[in-house]
């Protein structure tokens, strides 16, 4: 009872962002969540093509019991709906992914992408403005030059902080299919974008061309058997990247081997017992997310029912497998009928030894690789007293339901947690429900 996940981290509610009402506008559906490299900024993207960035307050020395809160820093419309008349294709403005660049100067940069176009956004602060022009009044009107009798040097005076977002690069027209991933290389100069069948390599400065590095489109589309579902650069090795497929495989490629990395360097695949195969096998084996550990030694994949940890040195099976919601295996028929079986859950690391992923009923799960303990927590406004430790949840698969347990049939499959993020340095997590963003922190004593 009371199994803690992760060295018994005690998670407490910190904040929740978003509307309270149950009537969710489609545009408000959160589609991606990402901390920047320092953890000071937290970005969200939504189905309406908007990006909202939160900034952590500076720690208040007197309030040692909690870390700074996240408040709105900037918000902008990143992408807009488009219509491709040539192909009769509606292009959604939904932000599929946001990835931050490491900070090089005062401004912050991030890449955001929808199905077809990637944009580099610069977010900069303005907190002073020049005053005391010779030829202009303070309101901008020009002064009559004949009234100017002395010269003065304009000076910068403080003003209310203004945060401006401007698109600095637009990387367009390189994807026939729908972009599912972007990943910035450890060289901080290039990045990859992956769609269902192809992966392209871009230079951050160059928008009019990109290199195609993976192409799995068959000559005859009738022969199509698998698609690319996610891709990521290795955190340290700038020539290495991985991509996952709808058949549950992960391929590691080395760009030094050839210009077109259609032949993998490594293929990670867990052998399947053919006698266990069912209609659902391939669908539930489809990998929805792949993430490297901070060291790059391990990678994590998420398929419909489980999270797997792979050692890059071992291709024939994962080193660890964690069941996220195994009780759903006996509900696959209805999950197929209501399309939930196609939900794409993401997963994230604390970097080394704890992994987190979402589930249904606004539950999310954490697995501690060291202690092998796991915990189920809930993102709900009912638990919103700051510094109150979240109570672990339990789903009762069958049989007699204990008090405080929830039966599988009572789970709300419309309340999905698909996107979660872990602060790069601290035990702060961001969990997105359909249209709300929850921030939890560990209890500090």
């Amino acid at each position: 009872a009371g199994a803690g996940g992760g060295n018994d981290i005690q998670w407490c509610f910190s904040q929740v962002k978003g509307a309270v009402d149950d009537d969710v506008a489609e545009a408000d559906i959160i589609s991606t969540v990402e901390f920047n490299h320092s953890g000071e900024l937290l970005a969200t993207g939504d189905k309406g093509g908007r990006v909202v960035i939160f900034q952590q307050e500076q720690e208040n020395k007197t309030q040692s019991h909690s870390r700074g809160e996240y408040n709105v820093y900037s918000t902008f419309q990143s992408h807009e709906p488009e219509f491709d008349y040539l192909k009769s294709l509606e292009i959604e403005e939904k932000i599929n992914k946001i990835r931050w660049l490491p900070q090089k100067n005062a401004a912050q940069f991030l890449l955001s992408t929808n199905d077809k176009t990637i944009k580099l956004w610069k977010i900069s602060e303005r907190d002073k403005r020049p005053e005391g022009y010779n030829l202009k009044e303070e309101d901008g009107r020009y002064r009559d030059p004949t009234t100017v009798t002395t010269l003065r040097v304009p000076v910068f005076r403080p003003m209310d902080l203004m945060v401006e977002a401007s698109p600095r690069r637009i990387f367009a027209n390189a994807h026939t299919y729908h972009i599912n991933s972007i990943s910035i290389n450890s060289d901080y100069e290039t990045y990859l974008s992956a769609d269902d069948l192809r992966i392209n390599l871009w230079h951050l400065e160059i928008t009019d061309r990109s290199f195609n590095i993976v192409d799995i489109k068959p000559a005859n589309m009738e022969e199509l058997t698998e698609v690319i579902t996610a891709a990521e650069f290795h955190p340290n090795s700038c020539s290495t990247f991985v991509y996952s497929s709808s058949k549950g495989t992960i391929r590691l490629c080395d760009m030094r081997a050839s210009a077109l990395c259609d032949r993998h360097s490594k293929l990670f695949e867990e052998p399947e017992d053919p006698s266990n195969r069912s209609f659902f096998s391939e669908i539930i084996s489809s990998i929805s997310d792949v993430k490297f550990s901070h060291s790059g030694r391990y990678m994590m994949t998420r398929d419909y029912l489980s999270v797997k940890i792979w050692d890059l040195n071992m291709e024939n099976r994962p080193v660890e497998t964690y069941q996220v919601h195994e009780y759903l295996r006996s509900k696959l028929c209805s999950l197929y009928e209501n399309d939930c079986i196609f939900d794409k859950f993401e997963c994230c690391w604390n970097g080394l030894d704890i992994v987190m992923t979402g589930s249904y009923n606004n539950f999310f799960r954490m697995f501690d690789r060291n202690s092998k303990r796991d915990v189920t927590l809930e993102a709900s406004r009912e638990n919103n007293k700051p510094r109150t430790v979240l109570k672990p949840r339990k789903v009762c698969a069958s049989g007699k339901r204990k008090k405080d347990e929830i039966s599988v049939d009572s789970l709300d499959f419309n309340k999905k947690i698909l996107h979660t993020a872990w602060h790069p340095k601290e035990n702060i997590i961001a969990v997105a429900t359909t249209n709300n963003l929850y921030i939890f922190q560990d209890k500090m004593n």
Partner: protein, 98 residues
């Protein structure tokens, strides 16, 4: 035959349920049909077959004016950019920023 097994895996039981409801379900599960549907996401309006059929019907008639009501644009009349419901970008700020 599966009923004779003492232990049916939950997954196979679910499969049997699905096949009972949809006996004509594709022989190649999780295969090309799924994937092609996935690749075609966003293609709502018409495809070239639809377009050619509509064109053939129109051969002896005038092209119809755009329908006054903006219902689903497929089949009988050739859509023009004006017919397609405009999807305006959100002018409303995200509620997360509220």
């Amino acid at each position: 035959q599966e009923m004779e097994d003492k232990v049916i895996s939950p997954e196979k039981a679910e499969e049997a349920k699905l096949k009972a409801r949809y006996p004509h379900l594709g022989q190649k599960p999780g295969g090309s049909d799924f994937l092609r549907k996935r690749l075609q996401k966003g293609q709502k309006y018409f495809d070239s077959g639809d377009y050619n059929m509509a064109k053939a019907k129109m051969k002896n008639k005038q092209l119809p004016a755009a329908a006054p009501d903006k219902t689903e644009v497929t089949g009988d009349h050739i859509p023009t950019p004006q017919d397609l419901p405009q999807r305006k970008p959100s002018l409303v700020a995200s509620k997360l920023a509220g």
